[in-house]
């Protein structure tokens, strides 16, 4: 008994240091978001393996095997629902985790690489969700994947090649399903696992979670990992698992009719976490909506920690009270501006005669305006209002996420048939 308990403790200590600073146990520092994401990934692995026993990845059998899973296999429906809800919650948890890291100044010196690893993890889990989306081969899946893979076609030079690579041919069909299946059950989980270990290890190497900077003389108050940290982690994890299990009893994961290549459902919406993107598609030229803007965003996020002094003071939310006010204002203005822009452009789209040269009017022009606007805002905040660079960067990150969230909300609830604006 003693022996086995020791070995468990040892295992835990492989992942954690022996002691952790008391301060980092504070729930309101991290909200346990990273840990939650890890627990959800665990749930996804388990329920995923179970479903592999039933699922068949061929065009003729995929849909039927999902029906068998939900109707005949004991607890099959529940397991599928758990997988679905964990995947959706994982997107939420991961994005909030990113926000938390940005807002508590946790991408500065010593944590830069980990920010990048984290972004790759986010990318991986979005691709996991997306590739998993096709597997049931229902209407939802078929058309979402048609749209998303078509986006690849707009990449200059290698676009058409990439498109055919992922589809396994020029059209969506058996080979596409086979490709996505392999990516979903082998490639992505494997990479996710490796990157997650690296992510954790880098947190540990950086000395655990971020803390408020103190004077070097005062020794940090440390508590033992077992039990202080572990008990908290277990409680949080179990609570989360219970929540997901209940959610999966109450709400079923959607499943429409079998895929029909001849008829797109109206409206054909992407999964909710891509609806922010879809909103861009409605307003911009496809090259800009699918390539230029996402690329600019991704590059900005990747590079931000390498800009000197771009990280807030560590361990304090928003850096300071002044930072907090800025954050609140940014969110409000960002949400308002997005709404206004979407509504105006909607009017424009409806009134305007057939437009030519959309590459200019719906591509270069808005991109130029956006860059000018961001530069102007930066100038205003730093030079005129005397905010620090870190606070301005924080405002930028908040602005991006707020705009995306606003677009997502519009996409989920306020877009009806033919993607026209409408009440839910």
């Amino acid at each position: 008994m003693k022996q086995s308990r020791r070995s468990i403790t040892d295992l835990i200590l492989h992942l954690h240091p022996h002691t952790v600073p008391r301060e980092t146990l504070r729930v309101s520092l991290s909200w346990g978001l990273g840990g939650m994401a890890a627990v959800l990934v665990g749930l996804l692995f388990l329920t995923g393996i179970l479903q592999l026993f039933v699922y068949q990845s061929s065009v003729h059998q995929a849909y039927a095997s999902v029906l068998i899973l939900t109707r005949e296999v004991p607890f099959g429906l529940w397991v599928r629902n758990i997988h679905h809800w964990s995947a959706n919650l994982l997107v939420v948890a991961a994005v909030l985790h990113l926000l938390r890291v940005a807002l508590t100044g946790a991408f500065g010196q010593g944590r830069r690489l980990n920010w990048v690893v984290g972004l790759f993890l986010l990318f991986l889990l979005l691709s996991a969700n997306f590739t998993g989306y096709l597997l049931p081969w229902d209407q939802l899946a078929y058309w979402a994947v048609t749209i998303c893979t078509s986006m690849l076609g707009y990449i200059p030079i290698c676009g058409p090649w990439l498109l055919e690579l992922f589809r396994g041919g020029s059209e969506i069909g058996g080979p596409t399903l086979a490709n996505f299946f392999v990516l979903h059950v082998a490639f992505i989980p494997g990479s996710l696992f490796v990157l997650m270990l690296w992510h954790f290890w880098l947190v540990r190497r950086a000395g655990g979670l971020v803390q408020v900077k103190k004077d070097e003389q005062v020794p940090v108050d440390r508590v033992p990992t077992v039990p202080d940290l572990v008990v908290r982690e277990a409680a949080f994890g179990l609570l989360l698992i219970a929540f997901v299990l209940i959610l999966a009893i109450v709400w079923d994961a959607p499943l429409l009719e079998q895929a029909n290549p001849g008829m797109s459902p109206n409206p054909a919406k992407a999964p909710w976490y891509f609806l922010g993107f879809q909103e861009l598609l409605l307003h911009l030229h496809p090259v800009f909506a699918t390539l230029v803007w996402p690329l600019m965003g991704a590059l900005a996020f990747l590079c931000v920690p390498f800009w000197a002094d771009s990280s807030l003071p560590t361990g304090v939310w928003f850096g300071s009270a002044r930072g907090r006010t800025l954050a609140v204002w940014t969110s409000a203005v960002g949400a308002g501006a997005t709404l206004a822009l979407v509504l105006t452009d909607n009017l424009l789209l409806q009134s305007a005669a057939p437009v030519s040269n959309t590459l200019m009017t719906r591509g270069l022009l808005p991109t130029g305006l956006l860059i000018a606007l961001l530069a102007g805002l930066y100038f205003l905040l730093v030079r005129k209002l005397k905010y620090t660079r870190a606070e301005t960067v924080m405002a930028g990150i908040i602005l991006t996420l707020v705009v995306l969230t606003a677009c997502t909300i519009i996409g989920v609830w306020f877009r009806g048939p033919e993607m026209h604006l409408s009440w839910p």
């Binding site: 749209i147 078509s150 080979p175 008829m263 109206n266 030229h285």
Partner: protein
């Protein structure tokens, strides 16, 4: 290094699947029906060939692909509005397949049409991309 090599290997494996699934380049002619069956100014769906046969005002024919040029949804013909309306991002196309509302960047693709002995035949193995509609694209008797 090893990662790059593995990546390259993976890509070529995936690529091989794509090569195997190239459709054979044979002609596939779909018979749409005799000329008299179509009234000028209407659109008829031809489900076997997965295209629309548009009979333009002057009685000439245009075979339009049903795939939206934006991101590939399948566009239905809306009889009442007298245009194609894409359910995915709301692009609309005229009878001749031209873009009426963005975001679609170019007109619907067409297939070559031939009229033999008063029968309209469409070759669905060749997709023709175009930037705008020109009367020469339509086939007349």
């Amino acid at each position: 290094m090893a990662a790059a090599e593995f990546g390259w290997l993976g890509l070529s494996f995936m690529n091989s699947r794509k090569e195997r699934n190239r459709p054979a380049k044979t002609e596939s002619i779909v018979t749409a029906g005799s000329v008299e069956r179509f009234t000028p100014g209407t659109v008829t769906a031809v489900p076997v060939g997965q295209f629309y046969l548009a009979c333009l005002g002057d009685g000439s024919f245009l075979a339009l692909s049903r795939t939206c040029t934006h991101l590939g949804c399948s566009v239905p013909w809306d009889e009442e509005k007298n245009k194609f309306v894409c359910p995915c991002h709301g692009s609309t196309f005229s009878l001749t397949g031209e873009v009426l509302t963005a975001p679609a960047p170019r007109p619907l693709d067409t297939y070559p049409v031939r009229i033999e002995n008063g029968i309209v035949k469409v070759d669905t193995s060749v997709t023709q991309k175009r930037e705008r509609f020109e009367p020469a694209q339509a086939t007349r008797i």
